[in-house]
Protein backbone atom coordinates (compact mmCIF):
# COMPACT_ATOMS: atom_id res chain seq x y z
CA UNK A 1 0.00 0.00 0.00
CA UNK A 2 1.32 3.37 -0.91
CA UNK A 3 0.51 6.31 1.17
CA UNK A 4 1.45 9.41 -0.72
CA UNK A 5 0.95 12.74 0.86
CA UNK A 6 1.42 16.33 -0.03
CA UNK A 7 0.02 18.49 2.61
CA UNK A 8 0.04 21.98 3.71
CA UNK A 9 -1.04 24.21 6.49
CA UNK A 10 -4.33 25.04 7.99
CA UNK A 11 -4.83 28.56 9.31
CA UNK A 12 -1.53 29.58 10.80
CA UNK A 13 0.90 27.92 8.43
CA UNK A 14 1.54 24.93 10.63
CA UNK A 15 3.01 22.81 7.91
CA UNK A 16 4.85 24.50 5.10
CA UNK A 17 5.00 21.61 2.72
CA UNK A 18 5.32 18.05 3.83
CA UNK A 19 5.41 15.19 1.43
CA UNK A 20 6.38 11.56 1.81
CA UNK A 21 5.26 8.06 1.02
CA UNK A 22 4.65 5.21 3.36
CA UNK A 23 5.05 1.68 1.97
CA UNK A 24 2.51 -0.94 2.93
CA UNK A 25 3.33 -2.93 6.02
CA UNK A 26 6.10 -0.62 7.15
CA UNK A 27 6.64 1.16 10.41
CA UNK A 28 7.32 4.85 9.84
CA UNK A 29 8.07 7.39 12.52
CA UNK A 30 7.78 11.12 12.24
CA UNK A 31 9.97 13.10 14.62
CA UNK A 32 10.37 16.79 15.04
CA UNK A 33 10.80 19.55 17.58
CA UNK A 34 7.88 20.50 19.83
CA UNK A 35 5.26 22.56 18.12
CA UNK A 36 6.44 21.76 14.61
CA UNK A 37 3.05 20.44 13.62
CA UNK A 38 3.40 16.71 14.17
CA UNK A 39 -0.04 16.39 15.69
CA UNK A 40 -1.55 18.47 12.89
CA UNK A 41 0.06 16.10 10.41
CA UNK A 42 -1.30 12.98 12.01
CA UNK A 43 -4.76 14.52 12.22
CA UNK A 44 -4.61 15.33 8.52
CA UNK A 45 -3.65 11.75 7.71
CA UNK A 46 -6.45 10.50 9.95
CA UNK A 47 -8.90 12.65 8.04
CA UNK A 48 -9.85 14.72 11.06
CA UNK A 49 -8.39 17.87 9.53
CA UNK A 50 -8.38 19.08 5.95
CA UNK A 51 -5.16 20.58 4.64
CA UNK A 52 -5.43 23.89 2.82
CA UNK A 53 -3.49 22.48 -0.10
CA UNK A 54 -2.48 18.99 -0.96
CA UNK A 55 -4.07 15.64 -0.30
CA UNK A 56 -3.53 12.33 1.34
CA UNK A 57 -3.92 9.27 -0.81
CA UNK A 58 -4.20 5.70 0.32
CA UNK A 59 -3.69 3.10 -2.41
CA UNK A 60 -4.15 5.85 -4.96
CA UNK A 61 -7.48 7.03 -3.57
CA UNK A 62 -7.85 10.43 -1.94
CA UNK A 63 -9.19 10.29 1.60
CA UNK A 64 -12.30 12.24 2.46
CA UNK A 65 -12.59 11.97 6.21
CA UNK A 66 -11.93 9.77 9.23
CA UNK A 67 -12.31 6.09 8.62
CA UNK A 68 -11.87 2.84 10.51
CA UNK A 69 -9.26 1.95 7.91
CA UNK A 70 -7.02 4.52 9.53
CA UNK A 71 -7.50 4.12 13.26
CA UNK A 72 -5.77 6.44 15.68
CA UNK A 73 -4.08 5.92 19.02
CA UNK A 74 -4.03 9.20 20.88
CA UNK A 75 -1.57 10.58 23.37
CA UNK A 76 -4.23 10.69 26.07
CA UNK A 77 -5.50 7.23 25.14
CA UNK A 78 -8.96 8.48 24.11
CA UNK A 79 -10.59 5.53 25.83
CA UNK A 80 -14.28 5.92 26.59
CA UNK A 81 -14.35 6.17 30.35
CA UNK A 82 -17.95 4.99 30.55
CA UNK A 83 -17.19 1.73 28.81
CA UNK A 84 -15.29 -1.25 30.14
CA UNK A 85 -12.15 -2.46 28.39
CA UNK A 86 -14.17 -5.07 26.50
CA UNK A 87 -16.78 -2.55 25.45
CA UNK A 88 -14.09 -0.12 24.33
CA UNK A 89 -12.35 -2.72 22.19
CA UNK A 90 -15.71 -3.85 20.79
CA UNK A 91 -16.68 -0.32 19.81
CA UNK A 92 -15.26 -0.35 16.30
CA UNK A 93 -16.74 -3.78 15.71
CA UNK A 94 -20.13 -2.51 16.88
CA UNK A 95 -19.79 0.34 14.39
CA UNK A 96 -19.11 -2.25 11.70
CA UNK A 97 -22.33 -4.05 12.59
CA UNK A 98 -20.92 -7.28 13.90
CA UNK A 99 -23.33 -9.32 16.07
CA UNK A 100 -22.66 -9.49 19.80
CA UNK A 101 -21.20 -12.97 19.98
CA UNK A 102 -18.74 -12.45 17.17
CA UNK A 103 -17.80 -9.02 18.48
CA UNK A 104 -16.86 -10.48 21.81
CA UNK A 105 -14.72 -13.20 20.27
CA UNK A 106 -12.76 -10.83 18.07
CA UNK A 107 -12.36 -8.31 20.86
CA UNK A 108 -11.14 -11.01 23.23
CA UNK A 109 -8.50 -12.04 20.76
CA UNK A 110 -7.05 -8.55 20.67
CA UNK A 111 -7.34 -8.11 24.42
CA UNK A 112 -5.27 -11.27 24.78
CA UNK A 113 -2.81 -9.97 22.21
CA UNK A 114 -2.03 -6.90 24.27
CA UNK A 115 -1.80 -8.94 27.48
CA UNK A 116 -4.90 -7.49 29.09
CA UNK A 117 -6.64 -10.79 29.70
CA UNK A 118 -8.55 -10.62 32.96
CA UNK A 119 -9.15 -6.88 32.79
CA UNK A 120 -12.04 -7.04 30.33
CA UNK A 121 -14.62 -5.72 32.77
CA UNK A 122 -12.55 -2.94 34.25
CA UNK A 123 -13.23 0.70 33.58
CA UNK A 124 -10.39 2.90 32.30
CA UNK A 125 -10.29 4.75 35.61
CA UNK A 126 -9.24 1.47 37.23
CA UNK A 127 -6.32 0.92 34.86
CA UNK A 128 -2.74 2.10 34.97
CA UNK A 129 -1.38 4.27 32.16
CA UNK A 130 0.33 1.34 30.48
CA UNK A 131 -2.82 -0.77 30.62
CA UNK A 132 -4.88 2.08 29.21
CA UNK A 133 -2.56 2.41 26.26
CA UNK A 134 -2.67 -1.32 25.66
CA UNK A 135 -6.46 -1.14 25.64
CA UNK A 136 -6.27 1.72 23.15
CA UNK A 137 -3.99 -0.38 20.95
CA UNK A 138 -6.36 -3.35 21.12
CA UNK A 139 -9.27 -1.10 20.20
CA UNK A 140 -7.40 0.36 17.24
CA UNK A 141 -6.36 -3.07 15.96
CA UNK A 142 -9.67 -4.88 16.49
CA UNK A 143 -11.25 -3.29 13.43
CA UNK A 144 -8.37 -4.61 11.32
CA UNK A 145 -7.51 -1.28 9.76
CA UNK A 146 -5.22 -0.85 6.80
CA UNK A 147 -3.16 1.60 8.74
CA UNK A 148 -2.65 2.55 12.38
CA UNK A 149 -1.76 6.10 13.29
CA UNK A 150 -0.16 6.93 16.61
CA UNK A 151 0.14 10.41 18.05
CA UNK A 152 2.90 10.34 20.68
CA UNK A 153 1.33 7.22 22.16
CA UNK A 154 3.83 6.76 24.94
CA UNK A 155 4.54 10.28 26.13
CA UNK A 156 2.01 10.14 28.96
CA UNK A 157 3.76 7.13 30.45
CA UNK A 158 6.68 6.85 32.84
CA UNK A 159 9.98 5.80 31.26
CA UNK A 160 9.90 2.19 32.45
CA UNK A 161 6.42 1.55 31.11
CA UNK A 162 7.38 3.42 27.98
CA UNK A 163 10.29 1.10 27.19
CA UNK A 164 8.20 -1.98 27.93
CA UNK A 165 5.40 -0.81 25.70
CA UNK A 166 7.84 -0.04 22.91
CA UNK A 167 8.98 -3.65 22.99
CA UNK A 168 5.39 -4.88 23.05
CA UNK A 169 4.45 -2.69 20.11
CA UNK A 170 7.34 -4.06 18.09
CA UNK A 171 6.21 -7.62 18.83
CA UNK A 172 2.63 -6.81 17.92
CA UNK A 173 3.73 -5.15 14.72
CA UNK A 174 5.89 -8.08 13.80
CA UNK A 175 2.98 -10.48 14.20
CA UNK A 176 0.33 -8.32 12.51
CA UNK A 177 2.49 -6.37 10.00
CA UNK A 178 0.13 -3.38 9.91
CA UNK A 179 1.22 -0.18 8.26
CA UNK A 180 2.03 2.15 11.10
CA UNK A 181 2.74 5.86 11.13
CA UNK A 182 3.87 7.09 14.50
CA UNK A 183 4.56 10.62 15.61
CA UNK A 184 7.00 11.04 18.46
CA UNK A 185 9.47 13.48 19.88
CA UNK A 186 11.62 10.67 21.23
CA UNK A 187 14.36 9.89 18.73
CA UNK A 188 15.50 6.66 20.37
CA UNK A 189 11.95 5.38 20.30
CA UNK A 190 11.61 6.21 16.63
CA UNK A 191 14.84 4.39 15.75
CA UNK A 192 14.04 1.36 17.87
CA UNK A 193 10.61 0.82 16.37
CA UNK A 194 10.75 1.95 12.76
CA UNK A 195 11.87 1.02 9.29
CA UNK A 196 11.93 4.67 8.29
CA UNK A 197 12.18 7.95 10.10
CA UNK A 198 10.97 11.23 8.70
CA UNK A 199 12.37 14.29 10.44
CA UNK A 200 10.41 17.52 10.34
CA UNK A 201 12.01 20.92 10.69
CA UNK A 202 10.94 23.60 13.11
CA UNK A 203 7.53 25.07 12.36
CA UNK A 204 6.25 25.84 9.74
CA UNK A 205 7.49 22.33 9.09
CA UNK A 206 9.13 20.79 6.08
CA UNK A 207 10.67 17.39 5.66
CA UNK A 208 14.27 17.80 6.82
CA UNK A 209 15.27 14.17 6.43
CA UNK A 210 13.73 10.92 5.30
CA UNK A 211 15.95 7.99 6.11
CA UNK A 212 15.82 4.26 6.45
CA UNK A 213 16.70 2.51 9.66
CA UNK A 214 18.74 -0.49 8.64
CA UNK A 215 18.83 -2.29 11.96
CA UNK A 216 17.99 -5.96 11.78
CA UNK A 217 14.58 -7.28 12.60
CA UNK A 218 13.24 -8.59 14.93
CA UNK A 219 14.39 -5.72 17.14
CA UNK A 220 15.71 -6.72 20.55
CA UNK A 221 15.94 -4.48 23.63
CA UNK A 222 19.72 -4.75 23.79
CA UNK A 223 19.98 -3.14 20.37
CA UNK A 224 19.50 0.16 22.13
CA UNK A 225 23.08 -0.01 23.34
CA UNK A 226 24.62 -1.08 20.04
CA UNK A 227 26.85 1.27 18.12
CA UNK A 228 24.82 1.27 14.92
CA UNK A 229 21.81 2.35 16.96
CA UNK A 230 23.84 5.22 18.41
CA UNK A 231 25.05 6.26 14.97
CA UNK A 232 21.55 6.51 13.64
CA UNK A 233 20.17 8.42 16.62
CA UNK A 234 23.14 10.80 16.51
CA UNK A 235 22.54 11.48 12.85
CA UNK A 236 18.89 12.25 13.56
CA UNK A 237 19.76 14.51 16.48
CA UNK A 238 22.13 16.42 14.20
CA UNK A 239 19.31 17.20 11.85
CA UNK A 240 16.96 18.12 14.69
CA UNK A 241 19.43 20.52 16.20
CA UNK A 242 19.70 22.52 13.01
Amino acid sequence: MTFGRTCDPTQAETLAGVSFSVPRGSFTSVVGPSGCGKTTLIRIIAGLLTPTTGRVTVDGVFITGPSPHRTVIFQDYGLFEWKTVMENVEFGLKAKGLPTGERRKVAQRYIDLVHLTGSEDKYPSELSGGMKQRAAIARALAVEPRCVLMDEPFSALDSQTRLLLQEEIVEIWESTRKTIVMVTHNVEEAVFLSDRVVVLSRGPARVALDMEVDLVRPRAPKMRSESRFREITDALWEVLRR
Binding site: G47, R70, T71, L79, A95, Y123, A140, V143
Partner: protein, 267 residues
Protein backbone atom coordinates in the same frame (compact mmCIF):
# COMPACT_ATOMS: atom_id res chain seq x y z
CA UNK B 1 12.81 14.28 61.97
CA UNK B 2 10.03 12.24 63.50
CA UNK B 3 6.76 11.77 61.68
CA UNK B 4 3.98 10.62 63.96
CA UNK B 5 0.65 10.31 62.25
CA UNK B 6 -1.23 8.33 64.86
CA UNK B 7 -4.85 9.15 65.47
CA UNK B 8 -4.76 11.26 68.59
CA UNK B 9 -8.54 11.73 68.79
CA UNK B 10 -9.12 8.16 69.78
CA UNK B 11 -12.36 6.18 69.53
CA UNK B 12 -14.54 8.65 71.47
CA UNK B 13 -14.85 11.36 68.86
CA UNK B 14 -15.97 9.30 65.89
CA UNK B 15 -18.04 10.87 63.17
CA UNK B 16 -21.16 9.07 64.38
CA UNK B 17 -20.89 10.34 67.92
CA UNK B 18 -20.42 13.92 66.73
CA UNK B 19 -23.56 13.58 64.59
CA UNK B 20 -25.42 12.21 67.58
CA UNK B 21 -24.27 15.06 69.79
CA UNK B 22 -25.51 17.47 67.15
CA UNK B 23 -29.00 15.96 67.14
CA UNK B 24 -29.13 16.02 70.93
CA UNK B 25 -28.13 19.69 71.04
CA UNK B 26 -30.81 20.63 68.53
CA UNK B 27 -33.45 18.77 70.50
CA UNK B 28 -32.35 20.42 73.73
CA UNK B 29 -32.30 23.88 72.15
CA UNK B 30 -35.85 23.21 71.02
CA UNK B 31 -37.19 21.55 74.13
CA UNK B 32 -35.75 23.67 76.93
CA UNK B 33 -37.20 27.07 75.94
CA UNK B 34 -40.63 25.45 75.60
CA UNK B 35 -40.34 23.70 78.94
CA UNK B 36 -39.43 26.89 80.75
CA UNK B 37 -42.31 28.78 79.18
CA UNK B 38 -40.14 31.12 77.16
CA UNK B 39 -42.28 30.68 74.07
CA UNK B 40 -45.99 30.38 73.42
CA UNK B 41 -46.87 26.82 72.54
CA UNK B 42 -48.95 28.08 69.66
CA UNK B 43 -45.75 29.51 68.17
CA UNK B 44 -43.39 26.64 68.81
CA UNK B 45 -44.79 23.49 70.37
CA UNK B 46 -42.30 21.31 72.29
CA UNK B 47 -40.83 18.28 70.51
CA UNK B 48 -43.02 15.81 72.33
CA UNK B 49 -46.21 17.54 71.19
CA UNK B 50 -44.98 17.53 67.63
CA UNK B 51 -44.11 13.85 67.87
CA UNK B 52 -47.60 13.08 69.18
CA UNK B 53 -49.16 15.04 66.33
CA UNK B 54 -46.92 13.22 63.84
CA UNK B 55 -47.92 9.81 65.12
CA UNK B 56 -51.59 10.75 65.22
CA UNK B 57 -51.60 12.11 61.68
CA UNK B 58 -49.78 9.04 60.36
CA UNK B 59 -52.12 6.62 62.12
CA UNK B 60 -55.23 8.37 60.92
CA UNK B 61 -53.95 8.05 57.38
CA UNK B 62 -54.43 11.74 56.68
CA UNK B 63 -50.73 12.43 56.39
CA UNK B 64 -50.17 9.40 54.24
CA UNK B 65 -52.90 10.55 51.89
CA UNK B 66 -51.46 14.05 51.71
CA UNK B 67 -47.97 12.69 51.17
CA UNK B 68 -49.12 10.46 48.33
CA UNK B 69 -50.93 13.34 46.69
CA UNK B 70 -47.85 15.51 46.81
CA UNK B 71 -45.62 12.70 45.62
CA UNK B 72 -47.93 12.00 42.72
CA UNK B 73 -47.73 15.61 41.62
CA UNK B 74 -43.94 15.49 41.85
CA UNK B 75 -43.86 12.32 39.81
CA UNK B 76 -45.89 13.68 36.94
CA UNK B 77 -44.25 17.09 36.90
CA UNK B 78 -40.79 15.56 37.15
CA UNK B 79 -41.53 13.13 34.34
CA UNK B 80 -42.61 15.99 32.08
CA UNK B 81 -39.52 17.99 33.01
CA UNK B 82 -37.26 14.99 32.37
CA UNK B 83 -38.64 14.30 28.91
CA UNK B 84 -38.55 17.94 27.87
CA UNK B 85 -35.28 18.70 29.61
CA UNK B 86 -33.34 15.78 28.17
CA UNK B 87 -34.94 16.11 24.75
CA UNK B 88 -34.21 19.80 24.45
CA UNK B 89 -30.84 19.46 26.13
CA UNK B 90 -29.70 16.86 23.61
CA UNK B 91 -31.05 18.69 20.59
CA UNK B 92 -29.51 22.02 21.53
CA UNK B 93 -26.24 20.28 22.27
CA UNK B 94 -26.12 18.70 18.84
CA UNK B 95 -27.35 21.66 16.82
CA UNK B 96 -25.53 24.97 17.32
CA UNK B 97 -28.23 26.86 15.38
CA UNK B 98 -30.95 25.56 17.63
CA UNK B 99 -28.81 26.42 20.62
CA UNK B 100 -28.41 30.00 19.42
CA UNK B 101 -32.13 30.28 18.78
CA UNK B 102 -33.26 28.78 22.07
CA UNK B 103 -30.67 30.43 24.27
CA UNK B 104 -32.29 33.89 24.58
CA UNK B 105 -35.67 32.32 25.29
CA UNK B 106 -34.26 30.25 28.11
CA UNK B 107 -32.24 33.11 29.52
CA UNK B 108 -35.43 35.18 29.70
CA UNK B 109 -37.40 32.45 31.44
CA UNK B 110 -34.72 31.13 33.76
CA UNK B 111 -34.56 34.03 36.23
CA UNK B 112 -38.27 33.84 36.97
CA UNK B 113 -38.61 31.63 40.06
CA UNK B 114 -41.06 28.81 39.32
CA UNK B 115 -43.18 29.81 42.29
CA UNK B 116 -43.73 33.23 40.74
CA UNK B 117 -45.76 31.38 38.12
CA UNK B 118 -48.28 30.25 40.76
CA UNK B 119 -50.87 33.03 40.25
CA UNK B 120 -50.92 32.64 36.48
CA UNK B 121 -50.92 28.87 36.81
CA UNK B 122 -54.00 29.03 39.04
CA UNK B 123 -55.67 31.34 36.55
CA UNK B 124 -54.89 28.93 33.70
CA UNK B 125 -55.54 25.58 35.39
CA UNK B 126 -57.75 26.33 38.36
CA UNK B 127 -57.03 24.91 41.81
CA UNK B 128 -55.80 21.35 42.23
CA UNK B 129 -53.37 19.23 40.25
CA UNK B 130 -52.95 21.55 37.28
CA UNK B 131 -50.86 24.32 38.81
CA UNK B 132 -48.85 21.77 40.77
CA UNK B 133 -47.90 19.76 37.67
CA UNK B 134 -47.03 22.94 35.83
CA UNK B 135 -44.86 24.50 38.51
CA UNK B 136 -43.10 21.26 39.36
CA UNK B 137 -42.33 20.68 35.70
CA UNK B 138 -41.08 24.23 35.30
CA UNK B 139 -38.93 24.04 38.40
CA UNK B 140 -37.35 20.70 37.54
CA UNK B 141 -36.89 21.56 33.89
CA UNK B 142 -34.05 24.06 34.14
CA UNK B 143 -31.53 21.99 36.12
CA UNK B 144 -32.25 18.96 33.92
CA UNK B 145 -32.00 20.89 30.68
CA UNK B 146 -28.88 22.82 31.64
CA UNK B 147 -27.10 19.70 32.79
CA UNK B 148 -28.11 17.69 29.74
CA UNK B 149 -26.70 20.39 27.50
CA UNK B 150 -23.54 20.81 29.53
CA UNK B 151 -23.13 17.04 29.73
CA UNK B 152 -23.10 16.48 26.00
CA UNK B 153 -20.81 19.44 25.45
CA UNK B 154 -18.47 18.06 28.10
CA UNK B 155 -17.70 14.97 26.04
CA UNK B 156 -14.12 15.61 25.06
CA UNK B 157 -13.26 16.17 21.39
CA UNK B 158 -10.73 13.35 21.67
CA UNK B 159 -13.51 10.91 22.52
CA UNK B 160 -15.50 12.14 19.57
CA UNK B 161 -12.48 11.92 17.27
CA UNK B 162 -11.71 8.42 18.52
CA UNK B 163 -15.28 7.37 17.75
CA UNK B 164 -15.08 8.82 14.25
CA UNK B 165 -11.78 7.09 13.57
CA UNK B 166 -13.36 3.80 14.58
CA UNK B 167 -16.17 4.22 12.09
CA UNK B 168 -18.99 5.46 14.31
CA UNK B 169 -22.04 6.77 12.48
CA UNK B 170 -24.38 9.42 13.86
CA UNK B 171 -26.58 6.95 15.71
CA UNK B 172 -23.75 5.12 17.46
CA UNK B 173 -22.13 8.44 18.29
CA UNK B 174 -25.31 9.50 20.05
CA UNK B 175 -26.09 6.26 21.88
CA UNK B 176 -22.59 5.13 22.78
CA UNK B 177 -20.60 8.31 23.09
CA UNK B 178 -22.61 11.49 23.61
CA UNK B 179 -25.34 10.19 25.91
CA UNK B 180 -23.19 8.00 28.17
CA UNK B 181 -20.56 10.74 28.24
CA UNK B 182 -23.22 13.19 29.37
CA UNK B 183 -24.61 10.91 32.08
CA UNK B 184 -22.54 12.16 35.03
CA UNK B 185 -23.82 15.70 34.46
CA UNK B 186 -27.28 14.47 33.58
CA UNK B 187 -27.71 12.48 36.75
CA UNK B 188 -26.68 15.48 38.85
CA UNK B 189 -29.24 17.51 36.92
CA UNK B 190 -31.92 14.95 37.69
CA UNK B 191 -31.01 14.92 41.37
CA UNK B 192 -31.14 18.71 41.59
CA UNK B 193 -34.33 18.76 39.54
CA UNK B 194 -36.02 16.37 41.91
CA UNK B 195 -35.08 18.50 44.88
CA UNK B 196 -36.47 21.58 43.14
CA UNK B 197 -39.58 19.64 42.18
CA UNK B 198 -40.26 18.75 45.79
CA UNK B 199 -39.75 22.34 46.85
CA UNK B 200 -42.06 23.57 44.10
CA UNK B 201 -44.89 21.18 44.87
CA UNK B 202 -45.07 22.26 48.49
CA UNK B 203 -45.17 25.94 47.57
CA UNK B 204 -47.67 25.36 44.79
CA UNK B 205 -49.90 23.49 47.23
CA UNK B 206 -49.72 26.28 49.78
CA UNK B 207 -51.98 28.43 47.64
CA UNK B 208 -52.96 26.50 44.57
CA UNK B 209 -54.37 23.22 45.80
CA UNK B 210 -56.84 21.67 48.14
CA UNK B 211 -54.89 18.58 49.04
CA UNK B 212 -51.33 17.49 49.64
CA UNK B 213 -48.74 18.22 52.33
CA UNK B 214 -48.32 21.87 51.39
CA UNK B 215 -52.02 22.45 51.62
CA UNK B 216 -52.17 20.55 54.92
CA UNK B 217 -49.59 22.66 56.69
CA UNK B 218 -51.26 25.83 55.44
CA UNK B 219 -54.64 24.60 56.67
CA UNK B 220 -53.24 23.70 60.07
CA UNK B 221 -51.66 27.11 60.36
CA UNK B 222 -55.00 28.75 59.78
CA UNK B 223 -56.53 26.62 62.53
CA UNK B 224 -53.60 27.45 64.84
CA UNK B 225 -52.51 23.82 65.14
CA UNK B 226 -48.80 24.50 65.12
CA UNK B 227 -47.94 21.01 66.29
CA UNK B 228 -49.53 19.62 63.15
CA UNK B 229 -47.79 22.25 61.05
CA UNK B 230 -44.42 21.16 62.40
CA UNK B 231 -45.32 17.50 62.05
CA UNK B 232 -46.15 18.18 58.44
CA UNK B 233 -42.87 19.98 57.93
CA UNK B 234 -40.99 17.04 59.37
CA UNK B 235 -42.81 14.74 56.98
CA UNK B 236 -41.90 17.03 54.10
CA UNK B 237 -38.28 17.06 55.18
CA UNK B 238 -38.14 13.29 55.58
CA UNK B 239 -39.61 12.63 52.17
CA UNK B 240 -37.29 15.14 50.57
CA UNK B 241 -34.32 13.45 52.21
CA UNK B 242 -35.46 9.99 51.11
CA UNK B 243 -35.84 11.12 47.52
CA UNK B 244 -32.35 12.59 47.62
CA UNK B 245 -30.93 9.29 48.87
CA UNK B 246 -32.84 7.44 46.19
CA UNK B 247 -31.29 9.61 43.52
CA UNK B 248 -27.83 9.13 44.93
CA UNK B 249 -28.31 5.36 44.77
CA UNK B 250 -29.50 5.70 41.20
CA UNK B 251 -26.46 7.79 40.44
CA UNK B 252 -24.22 4.98 41.65
CA UNK B 253 -25.85 2.44 39.39
CA UNK B 254 -26.07 4.59 36.31
CA UNK B 255 -22.62 6.11 36.55
CA UNK B 256 -20.49 3.28 37.99
CA UNK B 257 -17.30 4.65 36.49
CA UNK B 258 -17.40 7.69 38.71
CA UNK B 259 -17.64 5.91 42.07
CA UNK B 260 -14.68 7.82 43.51
CA UNK B 261 -16.29 11.23 43.25
CA UNK B 262 -19.47 9.89 44.80
CA UNK B 263 -17.62 8.52 47.78
CA UNK B 264 -16.13 11.91 48.39
CA UNK B 265 -19.58 13.48 48.52
CA UNK B 266 -20.58 11.29 51.44
CA UNK B 267 -17.62 12.21 53.60
Amino acid sequence: MDINLENKLGPVLTRRSIHLASYVCVLLAWDLPCRFGLLKTSLLPPPLEVLKAFVQLSMSGQMVLDALTSLWRVLIGFAIATILGIGLGLSTAISPRLRQFASPIFEMLRPIPPVAWTPIAIAWFGLGNGPAFFIVALGAFFPIFTNALAGVLSVSPIDRDAALCLGAGRRLMLTDVLIPGALPYLVVGLRTGLGTAWFCVIVAELVGAQSGLGYAIQLNRLTLQSDKVLAGMIAIGLLGYLMHRLMTCLQRRVVPWRVESLRREYA
